[in-house]
């Protein structure tokens, strides 16, 4: 029930932040009777990606540090780990005492991963993606199945009972959340 409510609130927040109202969130919150002066607190801050499906480019990028490591899937000597909301780390652990990262796939909204043969099954927000690794490091999107995970359309802050900065849709789509010290965050879940 609480989850539903939070989701509902988030959707409401997102809709009410629609561009045509033509004012920024901070101004609006400052004007609002319910504005909260909570001071400097730890809060979840939305990280945005451009809301442009055409920009989806899953090509192999240089390895990168793990920040918010997510789910894992092992196949042979390869381990894939989700970087929550950002993509997939590819780890080679042929030498189990010295695993190495061999690349990173850039997939906005990524949370899930599974592998079979040369196929990677993953998601970009609500869409399921099938990637083809057969010509690795040249990675192709084999298919994109829309709206398989409706609940992943708007990633929520990863914890309850915490403040978060209300998302501003004019800045793009929220891919994931980062914890930072923020002055007067106006949303709470």
């Amino acid at each position: 029930m609480l989850r539903l409510f939070t989701l509902f609130m988030l959707v409401v927040t997102l809709f009410s932040a629609c561009d045509r109202f033509d004012f920024g969130f901070n101004d609006r919150n400052a004007d609002r009777a319910g504005y909260r002066e909570v001071g400097e607190v730890q809060a979840w801050v939305p990280v945005y990606v451009k809301n442009d499906d055409a920009s989806l480019d899953v090509s192999v990028k240089d390895k990168r540090p793990t920040e918010e490591g997510g789910k894992i899937f092992a196949l042979g000597n390869r381990l894939f780990q989700v970087e929550t909301g950002v993509g997939l780390h590819i780890i080679d652990y042929s030498d189990k005492t010295k695993p190495v990262k061999v690349g990173f796939l850039n997939i906005p909204g990524c949370q899930e991963v599974a592998l079979k043969g040369n196929s990677v099954y993953t998601n970009s927000f609500e869409d399921m993606l099938v990637l083809d690794l057969s010509t690795f490091p040249d990675v192709k999107i084999k298919s994109r199945l829309p709206n398989i995970f409706p609940e992943m359309k708007y990633p929520r802050p990863p914890a309850t009972g915490t403040y978060y900065v209300c998302p501003d849709v004019s800045k793009g789509r929220v891919s994931h959340w980062k914890q930072e010290t923020v002055l007067n965050p106006q949303c709470m879940n």
Partner: protein, 255 residues
């Protein structure tokens, strides 16, 4: 036990043979490819499960079935309505174990394109990954945060009759996430409190042997070819589990 291993081995052999045969038909498959054939293994908190030529996907409410026998095409075969707040799926033998925040659902795959529900059990509201070995299903319940009640536990179900899973045991935990079972060992990620290793030589009566604690937050495990791949907050650790009850840290990949 031996009988079961033999059957599994046979199955694996059959699978490999099938794959090799499948490959032979495709001229394009290069022998130098770095990615292994066959399917791998995911953690217990996954929304994807691969069983044979089929991919099973759970979203919040439904189980979706895809035929992936032809790598060029992902063909949807069916959608099965399961419930709500579905979170995890775990394939075992010819069954699927599906965890939701209100209960556990067991589906059988006699027709792999049309999973049918065998049984279900309700539990208190919590997040609940599930794994299975033999006739026992292990399930962790985390009640913190999003997931409802303040209860945290390892639940042990006898699923000899999958139409009527029976709760046999309930052990307290602090705030568990994923879990994995390998031979006589059950590994349970208990968040900040470490990874608990249970002896499950008596499957319905897990006995805590030790807790591996190193300051990190343990989230999920994959026992895979005598290696335990552990997903901790911020990265991955590799443990040798050739002696299942005594995992030995091999390496880590934290950034």
């Amino acid at each position: 036990m031996h009988e079961l291993m033999k059957i599994r081995l046979l199955l694996i052999c059959g699978l490999v043979a099938a794959l090799v045969a499948g490959c032979a038909k495709q001229d394009g498959s290069s022998p130098t490819n770095e990615f292994a054939n066959g399917s791998g293994k995911g953690g217990s908190m996954a929304r994807f499960a691969i069983s044979g030529n089929y991919l099973y996907v759970v979203n919040n409410t439904s189980l979706l079935v895809y035929d992936i026998s032809n790598p060029a095409e992902t063909v949807q075969k069916s959608i099965v309505s399961v419930g709500w707040q579905i979170e995890t799926i775990f394939p075992y033998d010819d069954k699927l174990f599906i965890g939701s925040s209100t209960g556990l659902f067991i589906y059988e795959l006699k027709d792999p394109t049309k999973p049918s529900r065998l049984g279900a059990v309700a539990h208190f509201r919590a997040c609940d990954p599930v794994v299975t070995q033999g006739n026992t299903a292990y399930l962790t319940l985390r009640g913190n945060g999003f997931c409802g009640s303040p209860n945290n536990a390892l639940m042990v179900y006898d699923v000899t009759n999958p139409t009527q899973p029976v709760l046999k045991n309930q052990l307290p935990l602090k705030g568990p996430y994923g879990l994995g079972v390998h031979r006589d060992a059950l590994y349970v990620c208990d968040g900040d409190s470490g990874m608990v290793v249970y002896n499950v030589s008596r499957p319905l009566f897990p006995e805590a042997i030790k807790t591996i604690k190193d300051g990190s937050t343990f989230l999920d495990v994959i026992p895979y070819n005598d290696v335990l791949i552990v997903y901790v907050k911020g990265g991955v650790r590799f443990f040798d589990i050739s002696t299942p009850l005594n995992p030995v840290l091999l390496s880590e990949m934290m950034n």
